[in-house]
Symmetry: C2
Subunit: 469 residues, 2 copies
């Protein structure tokens, strides 16, 4: 390390990753007067953020006020801790809950993001508090963020792979070595170049859900046969570099499967949003083998996934025309055959090979629960606007859990500084935000808390790194 590197370029901040966290960091840093570049290894910007569901949990929002729903950051914090089995780092989780109204406002006022006019009641949440982007995906936020980067003249440089974190003699991260014109996944493509980061490097390059070899070290069951909702670039190289640089690994073995993904398409697809916004909250999930429900459709992701993965179970979600009103992706689901529509429950049962009589009994029992306002059998929280599943057309979607989110990653503090494993102090010049970090979500992430997490800590990382001299 004693030979001085020759820098090809020079910025105050180098941000690695062009999703929610990375773009938020870059925008904040630039606004604070720092020069900044965003590096993205793939051919297009946005990573998983762009293909995500675009859902934001907000504790205390205008829509909640309109609907008369009482909520508080404390309640969201508690929900996050329950799902996280109390493994969450409380300081980080609390920050997400507290700043969620501010971040919603920032996306609306500063970025001009548009949201649907209704709230969603997602599994594991105590109340309905989830906003959805008007276009039903995270691109509804990523596109305005990219426009803001152009406006602020922040370069977002594609096909650039992080290869090394460079430290000076004092141990401070002073820059990065990258491969430019990198063609994923060819590790030998492109040319090496060094970029100096005078004030800091922000790692905002996501999780490792698509990195089969890495994820199998943490959970040997997640072999190549298990699909993922993530884009192909969700691999572990940058995480490994951070760990090699002394970052503290936390909760790496907590890898979340998404219970709402469909077996009739690859990846996240269009079906996941359908199940999230219609199938689970307004419908029921049954085992096609038995016609019976088997889990609270509103439970947290871990509980639902564990129940769905029991051998030989074939989970199918069923909902009717009343229940699909929030389902932003219904049309594309029908077009691609991921969701099927039927004129009657008989036809639906027949197509899905579900025994009819048990299914009818299941529906009757569920409707009785609705009438009583309490799901005695599985404890699903029943929203006030829930109606019996009896208005054709009826819709079904076949489900299969897929690797969705890495709760674990590198440890940060409330300033988004990366924590050294040896002395539990910040590694000078190194920041991180988003899915590459661990601790916010503990053992299991609540749905719709990832985007707020990414935006909040991305902004914090950008602000603090810009002020880091």
């Amino acid at each position: 390390m004693s030979e001085k590197p020759i820098w090809g370029e020079d910025y105050d901040l180098v941000v690695v990753g062009s999703g929610f966290a990375g773009l938020a960091a870059a925008i904040e840093a630039k606004q604070a007067g720092a020069s900044v570049i965003v590096l993205e290894k793939m051919r297009i910007p946005g990573g998983n953020s762009a293909i995500s569901g675009g859902l934001l949990a907000v504790a205390g929002s205008p829509l909640q006020q309109r609907e008369g729903i009482e909520d508080s950051p404390e309640l969201l914090f508690k929900d996050m801790m329950v799902a996280g089995m109390d493994l969450n780092h409380p300081v980080l989780a609390r920050l997400v809950a507290e700043k969620s109204p501010e971040i919603l406002e920032w996306t609306q006022t500063f970025l001009g993001v548009e949201y649907s006019d209704n709230l969603n009641y997602l599994g594991g949440h105590s109340v309905a508090r989830t906003y959805a982007t008007a276009n039903g995906t995270g691109s509804g936020i990523i596109k305005p963020m990219l426009a803001k980067c152009r406006e602020l003249e922040i370069p977002v440089q594609m096909k650039t792979l992080l290869c090394s974190l460079l430290k000076d003699d004092s141990g401070r991260v002073e820059g990065v070595e990258v491969r430019r014109d990198y063609l994923f996944p060819n590790r030998d493509s492109g040319q090496l170049q060094r970029i100096r980061a005078r004030r800091g490097v922000v790692l905002a390059c996501g999780g490792f859900s698509r990195d089969v070899a890495f994820r199998m070290t943490q959970d040997p069951r997640l072999n190549e046969k298990i699909d993922s909702t993530n884009q192909l670039g969700a691999t572990a190289e940058a995480l490994v570099l951070a760990l090699q640089a002394g970052a503290t690994p936390i909760h790496l073995s907590w890898i979340q499967m998404g219970p709402w993904a469909s077996s009739d398409e690859k990846g996240w697809g269009v079906g996941s949003m359908f199940t999230l916004l219609a199938g689970f909250p307004y419908g029921i999930m049954v085992d096609a083998k038995t016609g019976k429900r088997f889990v609270n459709e509103g439970a947290d992701r871990r509980l639902r996934t564990d129940a769905m993965l029991i051998t030989d179970r074939i989970p199918v979600a069923i909902v009717d025309s009343e229940g699909v009103k929030n389902a932003t992706t219904l049309e594309s689901c029908l077009k691609r055959g991921v969701v099927k529509a039927f004129g009657s429950i008989e036809e639906l049962a027949n197509f899905n090979h579900i025994p009819l009589v048990p299914l009818q009994e299941t529906l009757e029992r569920y409707h009785l629960s609705l009438a009583h306002g309490r799901d005695a059998e599985f404890g699903k929280p029943l929203a006030a606007d829930l109606k019996p599943i009896e208005h054709p057309p009826f819709y079904s979607i076949r489900l299969l859990p897929k690797v969705h989110h890495c709760m674990g990653g590198i440890q940060i503090n409330a300033q988004a500084q990366v924590i050294d494993i040896a002395d539990h102090q910040p590694i000078p010049g190194l920041y991180a935000a988003g899915e590459i970090t661990g601790g916010v979500h503990g053992a299991s992430r609540l749905g719709s808390t990832a985007i707020v997490d990414c935006l909040i800590f991305g902004r914090i990382a950008g602000q603090n790194a810009a002020a880091d001299i």
Copy 2:
């Protein structure tokens, strides 16, 4: 790294840690003709191994044969995977199960270890399969191992702290930097010295149960108020060095609490063995507040601990004179006041502030379960030799879960080679065994599988490192 280190001493193998794994590695290496030194940072050898319960799970043993108990490595493997929530690396877990009879034989024939003449039926195991050393602690194995080291002229050097793992230009671990005359926990004490390891370094220096700062990064609940059964030297320095050298961290957030520890003494004490061998298998555990049982006393450690930690619960185990026949530490428990003896259930209830009538009802229900051969309420497996708790004196022990075992650590393969996080290949010259490794036990370790784990992988590490040129 380009300047050649000056070596103070020179061995084929440097073994760090003088517990089961380290001594097993050293003995095997020396027998294979390698020169070897064992380094121990504390003032006395044996680490946690010496103060452990001395319990070995063996699948297919002479005692099982005598008792007519059918068992197999496959069944032990399955029990380990169930407790481990399938996060175990199957290759490693299977090896422990398969080699358990061989390791028992090795300790008896080669080391001369003496065991009690009866099997123990521990929580989470499908059958009674656990041997206990005749003296009721791990020292019953550590002492013969130390004697073997003297016989083989293996130096076991106390007060020597590992400070660095030294790699040559090719990335091979070629030695260690240590502090000699180190006085735990003073990190500045002693003198630096480098020891060359021509064939390999074996890390066998245990878990981090006593390292509050480190364990809190993984599980923020485990603060300084939570006691541990471990010796004070169970800290994370060597684990950190291994991770800095590129080892793969796995399952670090899975930290096991021991459900059988007593609130009336510090650490592991004498009460843990009493609860393990008498209180849980032959008695019941009630909440002193209610007089009622609340969990299967034979469940795995995680389930019992979770149930015991519910706010305001005061767990007390109760057993009678028939149930304490295997309790090797009964006398010392009584002498130290950790276990109390009473002439009647009334006196026991009175002393422990347990409401008498509910406690009597609990006992009646439990005795009814014994008569029916099935614990319908909590599913405790009822051994054939279980008798009603009705023969005075009656014994009680107050319980409090304490941090006991770190399931997580660095990844090894079946050859005990440490796996690099970047390429998932062995780090040349680096081996590990015992609690510093992760993967064997997954999410939760079954009782009495640690010693077999340590001895088996310690021997493998020693054999393979000795042959590593």
